[in-house]
């Protein structure tokens, strides 16, 4: 890994001296004897990843993403002339969800603590990833709308925003891919769904730039043993690389169709 340019923003690493055996009991039946998870995936398999570009015609770039049961819309407005006089573009993020996106109806769709947290982290991640000095004095708005949630909302938001920014033609240093990894029954399982997310087991969220091998953000809000930590990081990186290849494929596919349409006319 390119250590010279590695930027670790949020890193909570808990080094424990005790073993992490007790976590195994809580999630006993999440992985079958044959090694399959509840939804039939293997431990290193991602959920189905599909996306569609140009869903909102008034946005400069937009992407509808379905990642497993998670459905969300990402829209990019800008760059347009902003209020600030900075030498680089200002990035804002607006995250909202529908009341019915989770099985228990949400009262608030906008502005609660959880969405503010996601807004902040998306803003910080893409302030680094976008070549902001290309657009001085301007502003780029990211609008995210969760239509159906499946556990972690942050990862699909990052991935959808990357795709929407590429669709808008805004220069990026690299893709930004985000994935989660958990340690259940001694196995490292990637891309947790809602059921797996709710377990009281070690979890780690990793956001990387896959082609530059840089960590953009890394967060872990549970106790992780120092030995397992490195392995978790490895499998999370693998998951992000897998995700990157499917995202790249989707982008190139879209590029080909749009260029072909252009040449046919």
């Amino acid at each position: 890994m390119d250590t010279s340019s590695t930027t670790m923003k949020t890193s909570t690493k808990n080094n424990l001296t005790s073993t992490s055996n007790m976590e195994h009991v809580a999630a006993f039946d999440l992985i079958s004897v044959e090694g399959y998870r509840m939804d039939g995936r293997k431990s290193d398999e991602l959920r189905q990843f599909r996306c569609l570009f140009n869903t909102m015609s008034d946005a400069d770039g937009s992407c509808y993403l379905e990642h497993g049961n998670c459905k969300l819309l990402a829209m990019i407005y800008g760059p347009y002339e902003g209020r600030s006089n900075q030498e680089q573009a200002v990035i804002t993020c607006d995250f909202s969800m529908t009341q019915y996106c989770v099985s228990e109806r949400r009262l608030k769709t906008y502005g609660d603590l959880k969405s503010q947290k996601i807004q902040m982290s998306i803003q910080r991640v893409f302030q680094q990833a976008i070549l902001t000095e290309t657009y001085p004095k301007s502003q780029i708005d990211i609008y995210l709308k969760i239509l159906q949630s499946d556990g972690n909302d942050y990862c699909p938001c990052v991935n959808a925003t990357t795709l929407a920014l590429i669709n808008a033609g805004i220069p990026l240093k690299d893709f930004v891919c985000s994935s989660t990894v958990g340690n259940i029954q001694g196995k490292y399982i990637v891309d947790l769904n809602q059921q797996e997310e709710q377990q009281q087991t070690p979890k780690l969220t990793l956001t990387i730039m896959p082609q530059r091998n840089e960590i953009v953000s890394l967060s872990c809000e549970s106790r992780v043993h120092a030995i397992t930590y490195n392995d978790m990081l490895d499998s999370a990186t693998n998951a992000c690389q897998q995700l990157f290849s499917s995202m790249k494929q989707a982008v190139i596919e879209q590029l080909k169709t749009s260029l072909n349409l252009l040449h046919d006319n």
Partner: protein, 209 residues
């Protein structure tokens, strides 16, 4: 056309074999793509109006590598480019305008611009009266000379090719240019004074690029 597609973050070539153009960036001695599109190599140094004005001093022999998205290119006000604007406000010291297109690309949203009194005309700079050069609602071609302050970009019409390209009288009649500082109403033959743009053929080519 080339069928090489690239996505942001793709390494295109080492930095000593080409110069990074639009859609690319340079880091650690390599050129990377920053947008998704097809790769183009340009040998001519006259790539963009702004680039050719500032940086054709050295490494002319290197080709420029660019990544193009053919759907639409975003127009961004850059120093040196030509802007089409509509005059909104004329005061004794400056003229305010709204830019709506840059280098023949329409802007998504209008940008505010300002032409100072000194930047209106190249000759007789001290005796220029703004109200004798522009009226509100005139359509003007101007060059962006500075990104200005937080409110507006600074523009200049101090070249013979720049100035009013379309104007109307107060009654709505289209004015016809007759001299570099005069326009005539075709119905009443009243002469109104403007800073008229001298449109030349090679100039039209420059704006179309």
């Amino acid at each position: 056309m080339s069928s090489y597609y690239c996505v942001p973050g793709d390494r295109l070539c080492p930095a000593d074999s080409a110069r990074p153009g639009p859609g690319t960036y340079e880091k650690q001695g390599c050129i990377f793509a920053s947008i998704a599109g097809s790769i183009k190599l340009n040998l001519s140094e006259n790539e963009l109006g702004a680039v050719s004005h500032n940086k054709n001093t050295s490494n002319n022999e290197k080709p420029i590598i660019t990544v193009v998205r053919e759907e639409h290119q975003l127009a961004v006000p850059t120093v040196g480019l030509l802007a089409y604007c509509k005059i909104t406000h004329v005061s004794p010291r400056f003229v305010r305008c709204n830019m709506f297109a840059i280098n023949n690309q329409p802007l998504k949203s209008i940008c505010h611009g300002m032409i100072k009194r000194e930047a209106i005309d190249s000759n007789n700079k001290d005796t220029v009266e703004c109200s004798q050069k522009f009226r509100p609602d005139d359509i003007v071609i101007a060059r962006i000379i500075s990104l200005g302050d937080s409110n507006s970009y600074l523009l200049s019409t101090a070249e013979p090719e720049l100035g009013v390209v379309a104007a109307r009288t107060s009654t709505g009649e289209t004015l016809v240019p007759v001299a570099c500082c005069k326009m005539r109403c075709p119905k009443t033959n009243i002469i109104e004074s403007r800073k008229v743009a001298k449109i030349q053929n090679d100039f039209i080519e420059e704006t179309e690029r």
